[in-house]
């Protein structure tokens, strides 16, 4: 099974999800990220979902889990690039992804992680 690559950029980890994920792959990503946050002592994780055309409840929960887990490991997670259709659908599904910080794109997301802007916060 292919794995989603996690890139390391200084103190941060960058994940770009481009493939339609099976549940198994999503779980693997969650595990891999948790592992890498610890081993690399990263202080932030940026997840780029601008290519994701579908975010259902499982993937939504995975994103929420990653945010929560990273917080416990003293790192921040920012999810960037959610497509409008996906946002509308998630809201209709009743998923607001509490605890997940979001930004419009990778640049804005990195600014947020580096603490260089007042950010978008989802309570």
């Amino acid at each position: 099974m292919e794995k989603i690559p996690i890139l390391r950029m200084g103190d941060f980890l960058l994940v770009t999800i481009q493939v339609d994920m099976q549940d198994r792959l999503a779980m693997a990503l969650q595990d891999d990220l948790t592992e890498m946050i610890t081993s690399s002592e990263a202080r932030g994780v940026l997840i780029d979902i601008s290519s994701l055309e579908i975010v259902d409840s499982f993937i939504g929960r995975m994103l929420g889990n990653i945010a929560a887990i990273s917080r416990v490991l003293d790192a921040q997670t920012v999810v960037v690039g959610m497509q409008p259709a996906v946002a509308i659908t998630l809201v209709e599904l009743g998923l607001s992804l509490p605890g997940v910080r979001t930004a419009l794109n990778v640049d804005a997301g990195m600014d947020l992680l580096r603490g260089t802007t007042n950010g978008s916060k989802v309570s």
Partner: protein, 133 residues
């Protein structure tokens, strides 16, 4: 309502969820649904497909293309699994809680125009959803 075409897709194991998503995306795009409507239907299908596999021990999806006077896609997920004991409870969920646990039926219902569910304990479950253009 005239039926234009129908096809059956197996929904037995996890990889089938992705196949279902792809097929429904293809069909709804071909029928000219808006991007948002496509996304809603595919997401609902993903939820129900997963339910069929995890809670229903696998089953089938029947996809019907409807055309006349309105254009629409009707999806019927059917399994011979344990069934749902309390349908009312399963359908209920709050909008802002987003706890996301359970069957996600309430959410899927909001994503489609027509929603119908039949379930009998020990016999199985059948969920039919329709999205009109």
């Amino acid at each position: 309502m005239s039926l234009v075409s129908t096809e059956t897709v197996p929904v037995k194991a996890e990889p089938d969820v992705v196949l279902v998503r792809r097929r429904i995306r293809e069909l709804s795009a071909k029928l000219g649904f808006s991007l948002v409507d496509q996304t809603k239907l595919v997401t609902a299908a993903s939820e129900l497909a997963r339910n069929t596999i995890i809670y229903g021990n696998g089953g089938t999806l029947q996809v019907e293309t409807l055309n006349g006077p309105r254009t629409g896609l009707r999806l019927t997920f059917e399994d011979q699994g344990p069934g749902i004991p309390d349908l009312e409870l399963a359908l209920r969920d709050g909008f802002t809680t987003g706890s996301g646990l359970g069957l996600g039926l309430g959410g899927a219902k909001r994503l489609v125009n027509d929603f119908a569910i039949e379930s009998r304990v020990g016999e199985g479950t059948k969920v039919t959803i329709t999205r009109w253009k």
